[in-house]
């Protein structure tokens, strides 16, 4: 069958480089992957098409691209499954990273984020003579995370990175989780504080795009949620420090307010989370409040309790009793 392959191209060697679409007609068979298709273009039609690829077997992580708008690993994706009614498919470079040429993106921002999480094991020292002991089920759990091939598909489709380049992003945070979950690494407290900072684990909006995009089943968002759970268990932050996010306190205050009045008082939530005297932080939120007011999304100032709030309070009491029991 013939596929009309629309490739988003960009040539930095041109005087005023601009991206454009180029269509190639390629004869493909049912088993052809997107990578087979692109290689055929490059080898038989147009040698100037730039893309990264190597292993052809979803292990080297070179060939993440966007197919019809979503990030995939080209060697793991059958082209026939993505053809439209007129046998077309669109192929673009991965998102959220600057394009160097055609389908080749600049991965330096990606590696910078990986570097930022101290991505190496920090075990207790001195090293034992033999191996560190570790339960097999912990190691098996980590195999799923170490399955990350650093292809960047999750970063490409992350909706937070689209608006906030400071976010560590799904790949780096999944990598971070690998150390927190590794029983041999003893720096959990330091790590959780580090990942608790602005741009860290609390900046994920749980949209789930990274879980869909990941070709290896690493499910980065779930790792980020697991990091949050660990931070909650460790009650981080226990005190305030520079650049800290307020994830733990936010959830505590959230719970308090709901169990008190049965509905969320967003103004109170902000004040109690940040602390009544945390003036600089609150001033920082003024533009957000003004934007909200401008769009008529300002929360009401008065929050009467909902009818039947007694029942909600009883549920809350039951939950905290169960928690205490579980803790024992």
């Amino acid at each position: 069958m013939q596929a009309n392959v629309n490739v988003r191209r960009f040539n930095p060697d041109e005087e005023a480089p601009k991206s454009y679409n180029q269509e190639y007609q390629v004869e493909v068979d049912e088993n052809f992957t997107v990578l087979d298709t692109l290689i055929k273009v490059r080898e038989e039609i147009d040698g100037s098409l730039a893309l990264r690829c190597s292993c052809r077997a979803s292990i080297c992580g070179s060939c993440a691209v966007r197919v019809n708008g979503h990030a995939v690993l080209a060697c793991k994706t059958h082209v026939s499954e993505h053809l439209s009614e007129d046998d077309s498919v669109s192929i673009e470079p991965a998102g959220n990273l600057p394009v160097i040429k055609d389908l080749v993106v600049d991965l330096n921002p990606f590696w910078d984020k990986i570097r930022a999480v101290e991505p190496y094991m920090q075990p207790s020292l001195p090293e034992p003579e033999a191996e560190y002991l570790a339960p097999n089920d912990v190691m098996l759990h980590l195999v799923d995370v170490m399955g990350c091939i650093m292809c960047g598909a999750c970063v490409s489709d992350c909706t937070v990175l689209e608006v906030d380049k400071n976010f560590l992003g799904p790949a780096a945070l999944a990598k971070a989780y690998r150390f927190v979950a590794d029983t041999r690494d003893v720096e959990d407290d330091k790590r959780l504080r580090m990942y608790n900072a602005y741009g860290g684990m609390w900046d994920c909006t749980r949209c789930g795009e990274c879980v869909t995009a990941c070709p290896k089943g690493v499910a980065p968002m779930e790792r980020i949620m697991a990091l949050r759970e660990k931070a909650m268990e460790a009650k981080i932050p226990t005190g305030s420090y520079d650049g800290a996010a307020y994830g733990y306190r936010h959830s505590q205050v959230f719970e308090d307010i709901i169990s008190h009045s049965g509905r969320l008082d967003e103004t109170k939530l902000v004040i109690k989370t940040l602390g009544l005297f945390n003036i600089p932080k609150m001033l920082g939120l003024v533009p957000v409040a003004m934007n909200a007011a401008f769009r008529r999304k300002m929360p009401p100032l008065l929050h009467p309790a909902v009818p039947g709030v007694g029942q909600i309070r009883r549920i809350a009491a039951r939950i905290s009793a169960n928690k205490r029991k579980a803790a024992k």
Binding site: E43, E44, S54, I149
Partner: protein, 568 residues
């Protein structure tokens, strides 16, 4: 000019292990690679890494004997002893770095069985051992802040007489060409599997380092020893780990028989790779195959074990041929997998002999698949390749630092070397479009090599392949590079890689014709037996100033194991 005491070419396991050792010692070291380190082909090693741990009741001499026998007595026994003796400590080093090896019930490192070995001494991470180690090694590279020239392509070694003083390389992003000065240069550039089609090897495995060293005057050794892996997927030739058979999977023919009974009654599916690949080929040629393949049957292992220990091959079988290995046998055949031969080195990675016994290139080191120490001889045991990379990666770094401490930088003109490389590249760009496309020429070479230097070989077939490859040199000069740009010109890089592959292809064919016996992976139907009287020796090939190749021989180092009949 960029300048380092030690420069490592290649950032797979051998390269990163070398760079890490140098960085930990405080040396001025850098790595240069045509891909990001974690893209390297060490990723593709699936099954595990061998080590004899004494606290598990194993003994390194048993591992060494299995390796010697696996090599069909072509491996140098001094080098094999070094590798097997140091294996335990290096395995523990990897664990200390953070590799998440599978464990036993007490939390100690667990093992699985592997081919050609009488004991289960293969340590593993599911069936992604190479990836799991490679990524942890990269973590260490980040920890020690090693300078990496990512996506730079080395096009030549800077030479003065017999001494190497660095490399000329192109920064792929900009297309700029630079000289990098180094007191010692380590080649860790991997294998040459793309010389054949099909092949388990990644597209980057083009024998670059072998070719650079060969052109600079270093000898290539035992290049005819090309491993055919018994279980490569129908069609694409992607690898399915030996670990599947290690866990108990069967090989069956079209009658449903476990045919290995006929060829290796004791070890069955876990005989050495050369033995299993020959058995499969014999079955297929006798009409007991299915569409050019036999079957790998994992069904009886059960879905739970498959998903825990063989999940990656489950994934690729599903993706690439649509077979669910928990439910159906998957079609496989022997495929080119590994180059046992390579750049001749001593046990410290040196590509020359300081005592003058053999001639090579001073200041140059090699480790991993690109090197031939030789620990694999005529046939490499499964899970010995990862071991080879870390053992000799580390040792070559120690050798290189020692050399760098005693020697100064080579004095050379940066612009002369850069301009001469630029002129070569311009030569390709100036070719008109009347010649062959790069991919077409590579395919012609790779198909000719597959035909002439397969599992079974004859004089005539090998000669035909050699003549074809040599004939391609003229076509290569006119090869068409369609991309005329500077930035990320992969087309130009493929053209240069093809030149390296042609060097390797020719050396493989010449070595094959020269070795008039059957030993290890080199199995000839015109010389069917091993000839210890005449061929207990290595074949060294050396490239002259023109295209002529000269042959030399070196005796095999025998320490404690005399050649004996090889049965599994």
């Amino acid at each position: 000019m960029y300048s380092h005491d030690v420069l490592v070419l290649g950032a797979g396991l051998a390269g990163m292990r070398a760079a890490l050792e140098a960085a930990k010692s405080g040396a001025n070291v850098a790595m240069l690679s045509k891909v990001y380190p974690v893209r390297s082909h060490s990723n593709a090693a699936q099954g595990g890494i061998n080590a004899a741990l004494t606290d598990r009741g194993d003994d390194w001499t048993d591992h060494a004997y299995d390796t010697v026998k696996g090599s069909d007595f072509l491996g140098d026994q001094d080098a094999i002893e070094v590798m097997c003796r140091e294996a335990g400590q290096e395995l523990i080093n990897l664990e200390h770095m953070g590799v998440i090896f599978n464990r036993d019930e007490e939390g100690h490192l667990g093992t699985r069985a592997f081919g050609g070995q009488r004991k289960a001494r293969t340590f593993f991470v599911a069936d992604i051992t190479g990836q799991a180690i490679l990524h942890v090694m990269f973590e260490q590279i980040l920890k020690y802040n090693v300078r990496v020239y990512d996506e730079w392509y080395a096009t030549n070694l800077i030479m003065d007489g017999n001494r190497c003083g660095g490399v000329v390389a192109m920064e792929m992003r900009t297309g700029e060409v630079h000289a990098i000065q180094a007191k010692a240069t380590i080649l860790a550039t991997g294998g040459s599997g793309r010389v054949f089609e099909p092949s388990t090897n990644a597209l980057i495995c083009s024998g670059d380092g072998m070719s650079l060293a060969y052109r600079a005057g270093a000898p290539l050794m035992d290049m005819e020893m090309v491993q055919y892996h018994p279980t490569t997927l129908k069609g694409s030739g992607v690898l399915l780990t030996e670990g599947a058979r290690g866990e108990g999977a069967f090989l069956i023919n079209n009658k449903g028989e476990r045919f290995m009974e006929k060829y290796a009654p004791n070890m069955m599916e876990l005989a050495s790779r050369d033995v299993v690949s020959r058995a499969e080929t014999t079955e297929i040629e006798a009409g007991f195959g299915i569409d050019g393949c036999v079957l790998l049957d994992c069904r009886h292992l059960g879905a739970a074990k498959i998903m825990e220990r063989l999940s990656y091959i489950h994934e690729v079988s599903m993706d690439l041929v649509g077979v669910d290995i928990t439910k159906d046998p998957v079609p496989i055949r022997p495929g080119v997998h590994y180059q046992m031969g390579g750049i001749k080195t001593d046990i410290d990675g040196r590509c020359w002999d300081p005592s003058g016994g053999w001639k090579g290139v001073e200041g140059l080191f090699a480790a991993g698949e690109t090197a031939c120490v030789s620990v694999h001889g005529g046939n490499r045991l499964g899970a010995n390749s990862l071991l080879d990379t870390v053992i000799f990666g580390r040792r070559s770094a120690i050798g290189a630092m020692e050399y760098a401490n005693k020697n100064n930088h080579l004095d050379f003109s940066e612009s002369d070397w850069v301009n001469s490389e630029k002129a070569k590249m311009q030569g390709f760009l100036d070719n008109d479009d009347s010649g062959d496309l790069v991919a077409k020429l590579r395919m012609d070479m790779a198909v000719a090599m597959d035909k002439g230097l397969g599992v079974y070989r004859t004089e005539d077939d090998m000669q035909e392949a050699l003549t074809a490859v040599q004939g391609m040199r003229e076509r290569y000069k006119k090869v068409v590079v369609q991309d005329k740009g500077k930035s990320f010109n992969t087309n130009l890089i493929f053209a240069m890689e093809l030149g390296c592959m042609l060097d390797c292809a020719e050396a493989i064919a010449i070595g094959g014709i020269e070795r008039k016996e059957s030993r290890g992976a080199h199995s000839r139907t015109d010389y069917t037996t091993r000839d210890d009287e005449n061929w207990m020796k290595h074949i060294l090939l050396r490239k002259g100033a023109g295209d002529e190749v000269t042959k030399e021989y070196m005796p095999i180092v025998v320490t404690q194991w005399q050649p004996e009949e090889r049965k599994y």
